[in-house]
Symmetry: D2
Subunit: 348 residues, 4 copies
């Protein structure tokens, strides 16, 4: 059986990675790809890979119509667009994996506050599956009805992978957690503004959206599902002068009596047997080991006052397109690593 998957927004960075992964996947097939800029051009030339069937880019606004011709759709679109497209595609009876934040928060009010738009399909918020398999399991297998998977945000993926096992195990306090994260520039998507010009980014570093970034409630909500008492979570993103890769350095207070050894053991136990998570010493957690792959590396250090957990991922893979494929694998009952295990890291 071959699963036909379309990508809406395939000329953006994560959409293009998703299209490439579908092209080389043994069970999935890239059924269509839409773009705002390449309409009519050959997809293979843009992906740099042989694509079956002489596929050409379709316009973005053909997305719902094209969805009817396939089994599932990846939405690599903005939250506002996804909030509108996803219900329309689901209404055609097709699965959706949404790369945006449109279905990750709890209430319509959250969207007004954190995303600044009026959510048009709040009824789907409770029905969306939050697709972080290592923490929340996969979506229901072989679903009879169309499934909506909210693919986690890149920052949220790293922070939750670092913290959830410890919060869940009760070895750190759920209050007052700090997530200091640093991401490559592809995390901001394809941009033609001066802020993202080479001369402005190269050899620079800055924090942005302090205390207002929309991944804050996403992380808090996920941690709140595994433990009580999550409160006062602080998240600060920074823009690194690199293209790909994301490192989250997370700070929590150990519960009284917990030893550094307990921290390491809880992480190791949580991820034992998982395909994509390596628990290792904290100073061996680095972007070079994960960029180009669907892996996360996680390491911790602790003393009586603090637990520091560091997690590295590729923001476009485990933080977006790779995790989407992983989720779709699980939805169709495949091994989660299918089509992902042979990805080669980019360093050097």
């Amino acid at each position: 059986m071959e699963v036909r998957v379309g990508v809406v927004g395939a000329s953006g960075y994560s959409g293009a990675v998703a299209a490439r992964l579908l092209t080389t996947h043994p069970r999935f097939r890239l059924a269509f790809a839409t773009s705002d800029r390449y309409v009519g051009e050959a997809v293979d030339s843009h992906l740099g890979l042989p694509v079956e069937g002489g596929l050409r880019f379709e316009p973005n606004d053909a997305a719902v119509q094209l969805a009817a011709t396939c089994d599932a759709v990846f939405l690599a679109t903005s939250a506002e667009v996804s909030a509108e497209l996803a219900p329309a595609v689901l209404a055609k009876g097709k699965h959706v994996v949404d790369f945006s934040g449109a279905f990750r928060l709890e209430t319509a009010a959250d969207y007004a506050r954190w995303y600044g738009f009026e959510h048009g399909a709040p009824q789907w918020l409770a029905r969306a599956h939050y697709g972080l398999p290592e923490i929340f399991g996969g979506p229901p297998k072989f679903a009879n009805e169309p499934t909506l998977i909210a693919n986690p945000g890149c920052y949220a993926t790293a922070a939750i992978l670092a913290l959830a096992p410890l919060v869940r195990a009760g070895v750190v306090e759920a209050r007052g957690i700090v997530v200091d994260a640093k991401s490559g520039v592809t995390g901001a998507g394809r941009k033609a503004t001066e802020d993202y010009a080479f001369n402005e980014i190269d050899e620079d570093l800055r924090a942005y959206k302090l205390l207002t970034h929309q991944h804050t409630p996403e992380i808090a909500r996920a941690l709140g599902r595994v433990a009580d008492g999550v409160k006062g979570l602080t998240f600060t993103p920074h823009l690194l002068p690199i293209r790909r890769g994301l490192l989250a350095t997370c700070y929590a207070r150990p519960v009284a009596g917990v030893l550094p050894y307990d921290i390491e053991r809880k992480l190791a136990e949580a991820y034992a047997g998982r395909s994509f998570i390596q628990v290792c010493p904290a100073d061996r957690v680095r972007l070079h080991r994960v960029v180009g792959t669907n892996h996360a590396r996680i390491g911790a250090a602790a003393n009586g006052d603090v637990v520091v957990v560091v997690c590295a991922i590729d923001n476009l893979v485990k933080g977006a397109a790779g995790q989407a494929v992983q989720n779709l694998n699980l939805l169709y009952g495949y091994d989660e690593w299918l089509g992902l295990s042979q990805m080669q890291r980019m360093a050097p």
Copy 2:
């Protein structure tokens, strides 16, 4: 009057910047420069600047003898070497500005623990002036006896500038502060190891020395001088794929009732009229604005749970050589900005 200043270790990164600043300073004069690798070569060619007197690099082990010929000495040497050299230079009746950590901590035991060597001159620890003028003032002006200035560490400079005014004003709690800092690679000095090879650093990020970095007690000690109750300070350094620049993102808990406005006001008040500190919105704190200068930019964001303060400096200037010149200016009764106000930033 011209003050004659020698630089020991002038072929390292901060030593070379110091030598350049002395060369272009209106009142100081580069009296000698020692090096482990350029002995006998012309100093001007290495600095890329005209240097008076046809100065050539001297061997490092001539440092004490050369010190006798000048008024003050910059030690751009390792802590272990400085611990030995500084007392010898002071014994010659000369002022010392030490770039290393050798005289920043309180007790010999601190050195055994954090630096891993036996301190040979613990009697100087209490006599050293910790040279962060914006927080602790300058050294005693026109000192009659030889003065030892412990020039602050680069990470410590950024963290203390960000936090000390708030801790001192009692608007944040002194317990449980987190400093997440990111530095360019020159912070590690000139290295010929594979870890610091271009291919290993470019497009990478990693945390290092988690919970064990020697600037931790330095920051804690400085904050402890301005407020009681400093405890459980956590510091995590990260290695950025850039050459120069350091950003510290600092997290503290606001004291009950403190408003975001109070935080901004305390920072603004603390640095009103200071030559080198700009308080600005937190998302305008970026390396590009400070690299190549002796400036620090500081900005804060706050809510009921947390105060985040971001501080950016050039690790080789305000974090090392520039601050050394600033300290020497103050020691000799000059304006602190003399020879520093015309430095031009490096971006773009």
Copy 3:
């Protein structure tokens, strides 16, 4: 005497460097600065330097009017704008140093072909002084009438410095010269297009404008002034993933009987005693030695078939703003290095 100089286009990269150099120059004074984006904002905050008189950015279209209040004007504007502004400023009796290519070529037809616009002031083409002092000398000192200095292009500066002494001395053939040049991204100016986005430039390299770049006729014209028979000059620019710095690798055929030694000697002789040119072994010509300064480093290698000359400059300094100050120094009879000799290089 203090010379009052205005900068039109001071928010662009080379305009900002020019404004900084004027601010720190012992004899020149920044009289006004215009900008397309910062009108009304304080100039000192944008330059990161103390500026006398509380100067604020003026609108670009006030340029001619403001020119009346000062002695000379730097035009850091596009060629098309400069072609219009320069005559208007000169008509006010003020000197002009034009950073653009508007007055570097010979005929109006050249502008139609290489720049794609109709030149409105062709009568000034023959009267403009091409400001490459090391090759063509300075402008006439103490000029009684307003002088127009065409400040050379960045690529042209490096290529001409590398080649002119050899072409002039007749040791290489004037035909068939190849200039393969590589520039940092600031050479393209401040851009808000996707082509110059960080993600598109970082870790990339590409050639552009092959056989059509407008510096081609500028280089050919300059070499044609020092020797007969210049023909078939080829110039290929490349875009480097760095901000500042430009390296030109130039290839020419040695005249029969010329030895490698002759090449080195001719270069050394040509630049003996010049403030800003270092002739050195070719593999020691690198960007790090010149970026942040007004220096050029030049080195050559040769055998019986070819002469290779490598030249490195900072495209914003010797390739733009620094050379403009050098030219103005000479126009006013000052040492060419005034205000430039203390610039500090940016590496590391």
Copy 4:
């Protein structure tokens, strides 16, 4: 049938890429991997890929003995080591693909001059197959006796792909060709010297080994096989501040009467139907399109005086490990793209 292939020097950059390609290849199997630093450690962890059989790194000096257990060996070793190892492995009846220059030149004297060592197996020089399939075809298929494939150098690959079709077709002159090439730092291999430290390379550019680089005779020899009269070839390598990617900008004189159109047509014809070569407009030849793949992009511009051909490759893939796999594919009668067509490019 499964072909068992060992990699000698698998902890170097090109050796590691080769080991990864063998691991994910549908017909080849990584049979062993030797290393100077990881002996005894698990190969999968270092490659970041699942490797069958719990393979661990073997010491380099077990190479010949291990060779006996497999069908072919990749030598990712220095020229001097390869010159010794290759004959020993061939004597065991095994195929060798040598990544070094040890078997690319014509005579033992060439090695004394360009590589600086005494070649111990000059009898193999004439028997080695120079493995640039697009120009010289594959090695003899299903060879009965052990075959030695000299895998081309990275610079040589780009230069020859750019020039050979034009030289062979007689549309450019064989004399006086200039190759100006720029390579990422992985081209220099894993280095722990200060010259290759991040601080020394970042934001820098320099030419090196002017007129003395060992790829010069390799390029000249290859062009000499496709046309008479090759003479006076000039090659200048430059070190780019990036990790992977190599761009060669090549200059030749057109034969009288040749039109730009002829140049483009000859390139298009030469590479029609080839899996890995894209001929495109010269300003669309950029590293981002090829890095991470076995592809080369080639484009040309021409006028009456000059033909400029630009070629971009990934120095570790088409310039080393990918081409080695391509050669081995051909030796075993497989499609040349087997195991290579699904490689994903690294940008963004």
